[in-house]
């Protein structure tokens, strides 16, 4: 039915099955299970290409609970890595947000830097690699040109200094080089620490590195822009920032805090769409209410409302994927069926002769889910897929077991949408019914 990849590496296979069995989105091997969404992927491929060419991109991926936002984000992340982009990603939480005054934005920055991934380090923690790649390139260039590496590095870093906060970043990178050059591991560690946004006070940073600034809440976005330039200088194509669970901003009970975050989104959006950022892309994942709610969502912020409004001509089945909003449709029963086919294929390592279940078994499984969870079982695929992977595991380990006997016994728990719960600390979700003393 689908075109299975010739073979699936055992490593990818295990990673996929383990993640799915645990109810989470796998970090690799998405290509083996992705169903549909060609147009959306093409749109994002175009975005990545633009970033690689020194442009910028901004996408808000909107999908309902269970539509596969996170999966899609991870897939795009994997593609970006493959396209030699550096990817940082984080989930927003009440303690990690885009705009704050009590360190929450710095915490988000730190989280992003911790997750920094490259093609060779897809699992994250690639900050040192990126830095050293820069140094390595500079050293090679110096050796070829017969110049001193320090001079080459300084010359290259000079290009950063024209940006906001670029001077300090250049000094920190230079400090890293010095540490490397002199074998001073402490200095190198301090530089990495600074770049990861882990300095909480200026005096500490000044004592360790001699710089007067640190990454703080206010300079969060400026540093991302700087970093984008830097990774390009280190030989990468650009920087992709993936932020998921933006619904946490929607849940902020404090109107001003919420609006400040939306304003930050507006700044980023304007910057990216006007070309103010270089080699930088943003990929945000949120739910429809985060976008559409006219009292608490992005639509409550008039400037964003007009920028994010749907293309008036893209109606009645016509689509336009050029706007900043990328809508993911809900899964259908057909999608779900194909997904099960793909999982079966992954489990068999792409080898048709090792399929554990015939296609009739998949239909029977769908029926079973439908009976247990109701008509819209495919809207919340997490638990069904988990159950399916577990079923495959049992069949795999017990060759004597018959699927006919097992399918009907699989327990599929119904899933609750956490976004339907009232926002934290807001009884009934009514912001007029509560207040906060700051």
């Amino acid at each position: 039915m689908t075109t299975p990849s010739a073979s699936i590496k055992p490593k990818d296979r295990d990673a996929i099955l383990l993640s799915l069995g645990a109810g989470i989105v796998p970090r690799t091997g998405h290509k083996h299970i992705q169903v549909g969404r060609t147009a959306e992927l093409k749109a994002l491929l175009a975005d990545l290409l633009r970033i690689a060419q020194g442009g910028s991109a901004f996408r808000l991926v909107v999908g309902d609970y269970g539509a596969g936002k996170t999966f899609f984000l991870h897939l795009v992340r994997a593609i970006a890595l493959e396209k030699k982009l550096v990817v940082v990603n984080a989930d927003l939480t009440p303690d990690k947000r885009l705009q704050a005054t009590a360190g929450q934005a710095r915490a988000l920055y730190a989280e992003l830097m911790k997750s920094m991934a490259t093609r060779s380090r897809p699992e994250g923690g690639a900050m040192a690699s990126v830095l050293e790649r820069f140094v390595t390139l500079a050293v090679s260039a110096a050796q070829e040109a017969g110049a001193s590496p320090e001079a080459v590095i300084r010359k290259r870093l000079a290009r950063l200094e024209e940006c906001v906060g670029g001077f300090d970043l250049a000094r920190v990178v230079a400090a890293y080089w010095q540490g490397f050059d002199k074998g001073d591991d402490r200095l190198q560690a301090a530089a990495v620490r600074w770049l990861r946004g882990e300095y909480a006070t200026r005096s500490e940073a000044r004592a360790d590195l001699g710089v007067r600034a640190i990454v703080d809440d206010a300079s969060f976005y400026d540093h991302l822009k700087l970093l984008a330039r830097f990774v390009r200088m280190a030989g990468y194509e650009g920087l992709l920032v993936c932020l998921d669970e933006l619904v946490n901003l929607y849940k902020l009970a404090h109107t001003q805090a919420r609006n400040a975050n939306y304003e930050r989104i507006l700044t980023i959006l304007n910057d990216c769409l006007q070309g103010g950022a270089e080699g930088l892309g943003f990929l945000l994942g949120g739910t429809p209410e985060f976008l559409l709610d006219t009292r608490r969502g992005l639509y409550s912020y008039p400037a964003l409302q007009s920028r994010l409004a749907e293309n008036a001509f893209a109606t009645g089945g016509l689509i336009d994927h050029s706007g900043p909003i990328l809508r993911l449709s809900n899964l259908t029963a057909e999608d779900f069926y194909l997904l099960l086919l793909n999982i079966r294929n992954v489990q068999a390592g792409g080898d048709e002769s090792r399929f554990l279940l015939p296609e009739t078994a998949l239909t029977a499984f769908l029926d079973h889910c439908s009976r247990q969870l109701g008509d819209k079982y495919f809207r919340t695929p997490r638990t069904c897929i988990k159950a399916f992977v577990n079923l495959l595991a049992v069949l795999d380990q017990n060759p004597e077991a018959k699927w006919e006997a097992l399918v009907g016994t699989v327990a599929v728990e119904s899933e609750r949408d956490p976004d339907l719960e009232p926002p934290e600390g807001v009884p009934g979700g009514d912001e007029l019914a509560t207040f906060r003393l700051n």
Binding site: V35, S120, T136, Q305, A314, T315, S329, A333
Partner: protein, 630 residues
């Protein structure tokens, strides 16, 4: 003395009163039939008459009076009644009897020749019949008159034609003998009562007062009565005769004829009493229903006496009276032209016929339009009558042809409301006029429709939020539906373009598709998805393996530099290096550890599509890849 008799058609003057058509005794001396005293009916011109103050009410009139014993004022009133043609409905029973005594005497006592009898009797009989009807409400008189007529009138042919009924005058004003005879013929021959006869009977029936609508709008009432008569009673009501045949012994009413004995007559088939009670009950119930349907119209006319031609009044008329009504013809033509089929047709408010509008100042006209349209076989939503006369200020109305079943109405309502730019209280009123399940259906339908119209999207979402909350469904559902609709539009979603096209005033909404079968997987969609999935698989396959067939146009900075070549040679010595050993290899070359791993892996990816070095401590070397790099 017979000389005192004034025959019919002869005039006589008594005092100031000229009695034109006779049928009375005038003179000074006429013995009573009983043999003593004066004839009660004899008018003695010599007796005083108080013509300046006639006693119309008959105060002091005895039950069986005698002219000679009347007060002068009563005589004046009696003579005036006679001179007036004996028709005043308010005449007291005494005057009627007094006149009737004379007729009785003439018919029963006076010896007359055959010629006179042939000339006079029909006139006298007709007069009694007339009085019988005219003073029907005097039961005693009615009883005597009926029986006298039964005794002396010639037999009637029950199968004879009845012709047109007498045109009734004032309500309760009795009709003549011909009418009564017609009724008796219908009853005797068991023919149905035609509509005009039924109406005439009802209208002239005194003891059953009609309600105001019938009296105020007589023409409309009559038309409605006749229009509905056939559907209510088929060819007509059957009038029943009572079993009692009239005839037998007749006892004269006149005291002057007392003890003259009674007249024995045989019961006659053609003179049966009609069962008026049953007839009256049926006709009054029917008339009551007609009155009820005319109530609104009548009340309107009560408030606006000159408004019978206003559309607002015409709209209140029952359906039967509206068809072809001159005031409704233009609207009917407009509806015929504009609403082509049973499905919903969306009409911009600005395109409504002149005189109708949805602006707040003209909302009442919408109620008129709704009434008129309904009676002409159409309907529209939102229906202002269901929402307590608070017609919402909508931009569009959705029309349908009757009979619009519930679904069509809901669809129309959703269509019209989905065109509103913002939430209004009226909208809530519209929703709350529906059952909860219908509310939810309409709200979701509006959601679907509004999502199909991306113009001014944020405002529409605001609208949806309020609607969903009004229907108790929660805002979250609104976002979901809106989002779902944009991603995956339903096939019947509205895609009307709002721009006005002068030639087209309405937009046809496609009929909803038949419900899909309960099959879990849609083969067409599955095929589409399989195609897309294959496409995406090949797209992704190209991305994740393209490094093997690198784009030749890409800048080639992949050739390992001199230090790397040295390092690669060193690495070939083992496939597992501790980090410190690896560092020892790098340091003399001036290379940092992590940067080196990154660079080498990058080269490896480009050359072999796989990592050369894996792990951070220890570091594993893939020999296959190493061979490809060196």
């Amino acid at each position: 003395m017979p000389d005192a008799w004034i025959p019919p058609g002869s005039a006589v003057t008594v005092g100031p009163y000229r009695i034109a058509d006779g049928m009375i005794y005038v003179g000074s001396d006429l013995r009573a039939g009983a043999g003593w005293g004066r004839e009660a009916a004899l008018i003695d011109p010599a007796l005083p008459i108080r013509s300046d103050e006639p006693d119309y009410l008959g105060v002091g009139l005895s039950y069986r009076p005698s002219y000679s014993q009347l007060s002068p004022a009563c005589r004046a009133a009696y003579l005036e009644w006679l001179a007036g043609g004996r028709a005043s409905p308010n005449a007291p029973l005494g005057y009627v009897f007094l006149f009737y005594f004379g007729l009785e005497r003439r018919l029963l006592l006076d010896p007359v020749s055959e010629e006179i009898r042939a000339a006079e009797w029909p006139i006298l009989i007709a007069e009694i019949a007339r009085l019988e009807v005219r003073y029907w409400h005097f039961g005693d008189f009615r009883h005597h008159a009926t029986h006298l007529l039964a005794a002396i009138s010639p037999p009637d042919d029950p199968d004879a034609a009845i012709g047109e009924p007498e045109r009734p005058g004032e309500p309760g004003w009795p009709l003549g003998e011909a009418f009564g005879r017609g009724l008796r013929r219908l009853a005797a021959s068991r023919r149905p009562l035609p509509a005009d006869w039924a109406f005439a009977w009802l209208w002239s029936e005194p003891p059953a007062p009609l309600r105001t609508p019938a009296l105020r709008c007589r023409a409309e009432f009559e038309a409605l009565f006749k229009a509905r008569y056939a559907s209510a009673f088929g060819p007509g009501l059957r009038i029943k005769s009572r079993k009692t045949r009239i005839g037998g012994r007749y006892h004269p009413a006149s005291p002057s004829l007392a003890y003259c004995g009674s007249i024995q007559t045989p019961g006659r088939e053609d003179r049966r009493l009609i069962d008026t009670d049953a007839l009256r009950a049926k006709l009054m119930a029917f008339a009551g229903a007609c009155c009820q349907d005319l109530d609104a119209y009548s009340r309107y006319l009560g408030r606006n006496p000159a408004g019978s031609e206003y559309l607002a009044a015409v709209a209140l008329l029952p359906r039967e009276l509206l068809a072809g009504h001159p005031a409704a013809v233009p609207l009917e033509a407009w509806l015929e032209r504009t609403i082509p089929g049973a499905g919903p047709t969306l009409v911009p408010a600005s395109d409504l016929p002149p005189g109708f509008g949805t602006e707040s100042a003209r909302r009442d006209t919408l109620v008129v339009l709704a009434d008129l349209a309904e009676k002409l076989g159409y309907g529209f939503e939102p229906d202002p009558r269901r929402t307590g006369r608070q017609a919402p200020a909508v931009t569009h109305l959705a029309f349908f042809r009757a009979p619009g079943d519930g679904r069509v109405r809901l669809e129309c309502l959703a269509l019209a409301l989905s065109r509103l730019p913002a939430f209004t209280k009226d909208m809530r009123a519209c929703l709350y006029s529906l059952k909860p399940a219908d509310q939810k259906w309409v709200v979701r339908r509006i959601g679907t429709l509004a999502a199909g119209m991306a113009l001014d999207q944020p405002a529409r979402i605001g609208l949806m939020e309020r609607l969903y909350e009004s229907a108790g469904m929660g805002k979250q559902q609104a976002y979901r539906d809106f989002h779902g609709q944009i991603c995956d539009p339903e096939p019947d979603a509205l895609t009307t373009i709002l721009a006005r096209d002068r030639d087209r005033t309405t937009y046809r909404i496609p009929d909803p598709p038949p419900p899909t079968s309960g099959q879990p997987l849609d083969p067409a969609r599955l095929a589409r998805r399989i195609r897309e999935t294959a496409e995406v698989a090949s797209l992704l396959g190209a991305i994740f393996t393209e490094s093997l067939e690198e784009d030749p146009s890409a800048p080639s900075n992949d050739a390992p530099g001199a230090p790397y070549r040295q390092l690669l040679r060193d690495l070939a010595r083992a496939d597992r290096w501790s980090r410190s050993d690896f560092q020892a290899l790098c340091r003399p070359l001036g290379l940092p550890v992590d940067g080196t791993i990154e660079s080498l892996n990058d080269l490896a990816f480009d050359a072999a599509g796989e990592l050369l070095l894996e792990g951070t401590d220890p570091i594993f070397v893939s020999n296959d890849v190493l061979r490809m790099l060196t």
